[in-house]
Subunit: 346 residues, 2 copies
């Protein structure tokens, strides 16, 4: 390991991406079947037929979910869907799922069944087979680790690295809802802790709550793009917020980007409830995460095919790396995007 570069032994100085990069920076492939390792939504493997994509995701109680307001069935469903989303982001189809769980002593069989019923519902809805896993005890909270396997023909695969200059930057659906839904749940949790006799006031928040608790992977967008004969030049799913995902595409494609804040799709419910919390909905969209929409780039020549599609928004275009990753805000000012948040350039 190249420890020389690091000044500190504190993991938080690196951040999640920095940590993975640090730990895997000098990996060498030993097998022909390893086509693409660390660094995209999924790894790509080849065993002589269709390409195999594989991705894994870990969710820990108290970090990724709070059992106070997360129904166990929803938790299972979401854990599975989040993994499927990684496979769609490669323009591949999820096929198999492996599920590992570490359960603390508080878990009853019926609770585990609830989690599994959510996982199985997701598998049913997305046509995926549950083929394995591991169940073990944990000293404390619940930890879920899911691994999904998908497949695609070689020529169908889309990586993060193919964005070309002038390509249009597209986003499916709308952003920020999952983050605002989380704010609603957190507010109710705090209220409940103070006043245990109160009923949670969740009426009228259905849309953002569903975005947070029961997200869907955009299988339909992958199917639509195929139907339209469009193969994106690059693609990623939006799990950590638009800003951070745009940076990944820029970095791995060796490009910059220019997006327009008023083109970033935000649902009217998200906008309305954002105001209630005094949150700029644009910030929720850029940094909130967990929307599991697809962010992808297409050549300008394909504008006509997607330009009038309600489920796809064109939010900007790809530029030279030297121009950086920038956003034009509603006043026409240029701001630099950052993995979390952005800085005014003055």
């Amino acid at each position: 390991m190249n420890k020389g570069k690091l000044q500190s032994d504190d993991i938080s100085d690196l951040g999640e991406f920095g940590l993975i990069r640090h730990l895997t920076s000098d990996l060498v492939s030993r097998n022909e079947s390893t086509i693409k390792g660390v660094g995209d939504d999924a790894a790509v493997l080849g065993f002589g037929g269709r390409k195999v994509v594989i991705s894994t995701d870990m969710l820990a109680e108290g970090v990724h979910f709070n059992l106070v307001y997360t129904p166990l069935k929803h938790l299972g469903y979401k854990a599975a869907v989040v993994n499927f989303s990684d496979v769609y982001a490669m323009n591949a189809q999820p096929r198999q799922l492996l599920v590992s769980m570490a359960l603390s002593a508080k878990f009853r069989l019926s609770m585990v069944e609830e989690i599994y019923s959510g996982i199985r519902l997701a598998c049913e809805q997305y046509g995926v087979d549950l083929v394995g896993g591991d169940t073990t005890s944990s000293m404390t909270g619940l930890v879920l680790s899911l691994t999904v396997v998908g497949d695609a023909a070689d020529e169908e695969l889309v990586y993060r690295s193919g964005a070309g200059i002038n390509d249009l930057i597209c986003v499916s659906g709308n952003l920020g809802g999952a983050y605002i839904g989380l704010q609603v749940l957190e507010r109710e949790r705090v209220m409940f802790e103070k006043h245990q006799d109160m009923q949670p006031a969740l009426m009228g928040y259905d849309y953002v709550l569903e975005r947070q608790l029961k997200p869907e992977a955009r299988k339909d967008i992958i199917a639509l793009l195929k139907e339209l004969g469009i193969k994106p030049t690059s693609m990623i799913d939006i799990s950590d917020g638009l800003s951070s995902e745009l940076m990944h595409i820029c970095e791995q494609s060796g490009r910059g980007c220019k997006i327009y804040s008023d083109k970033v799709p935000v649902h009217e419910e998200t906008r309305r409830i954002s105001q209630e919390f005094g949150i700029d909905p644009l910030i929720a969209a850029l940094n909130g995460g967990e929307d599991y929409e697809l962010l992808f780039t297409i050549p300008v020549s394909q504008f006509d095919q997607v330009g009038n599609r309600q489920e796809i928004s064109i939010i900007g275009h790809v530029v030279e790396a030297a121009e950086g990753a920038r956003m034009i805000d509603s006043h026409g000012s240029v701001v630099a995007l950052q993995a979390q948040g952005w800085n005014a350039l003055g």
Copy 2:
């Protein structure tokens, strides 16, 4: 889920295998590429070329390992090797590894690097590529979840289900050492907690400590069998003790077995140190687990090829299911094997 069958909501009434069976009993495959799902050492997938095997394993601090006496590098090495062992047990070659970790706040970067250095060493030694993973925080202890992908030609794959009547039951290496090694470590931990100024007394225990802390997967046995032109009729790796693994093979092959206690291979160091702890080394071999040796069956006609191989012991043979899973002990008495322990038949 078929809840009707269960009387209790307590997970421990089911046990680990019972729980997985309960949660996955009525699964239906939706994809052609799903060849074999839950129930063997690994799932088997087919995407048009070589068969893909995949297996996942989760290890939790305080349950599977104790950081008081487990060096982090060894922990990483073992976590990887344990997964590779599942792939060899399918008569396949491990090719890729995905690693997810949930880290509590006590973990420094250098500690994570230590774990990774062990994982990477194992990958190097076994020719496996690290292709992905996830790193996240946990509210408490360390949880590791590893997924391994391997490949084999269709005709090479060996399942747990193929044991035929009269097939010879073979075990690689020797058994019980890892369990006895764990006893040594536990004794030192207890001593250390009482007398913090004492140095651990681990001299003279090298063999069993290595069996516990740095096990190896039997890649060499898979290579040897290939060289000898032997394809086992069934195979499993010994992670939970010989008894339990024999039961898996019997159950999935629809057979019974008869083994001889004096044929069960135990290393002389394991035997010596067992006495120190007042443990019957045979119990350590049958129920101890974590030896990661291979248990397999071969047709009687292949006796000549393995009969004189020091690294392979023939411990008995496969019988009709109606005869059950039995062991002839050193006094010639017949005892019934159980997943954990055994009962005298009188």
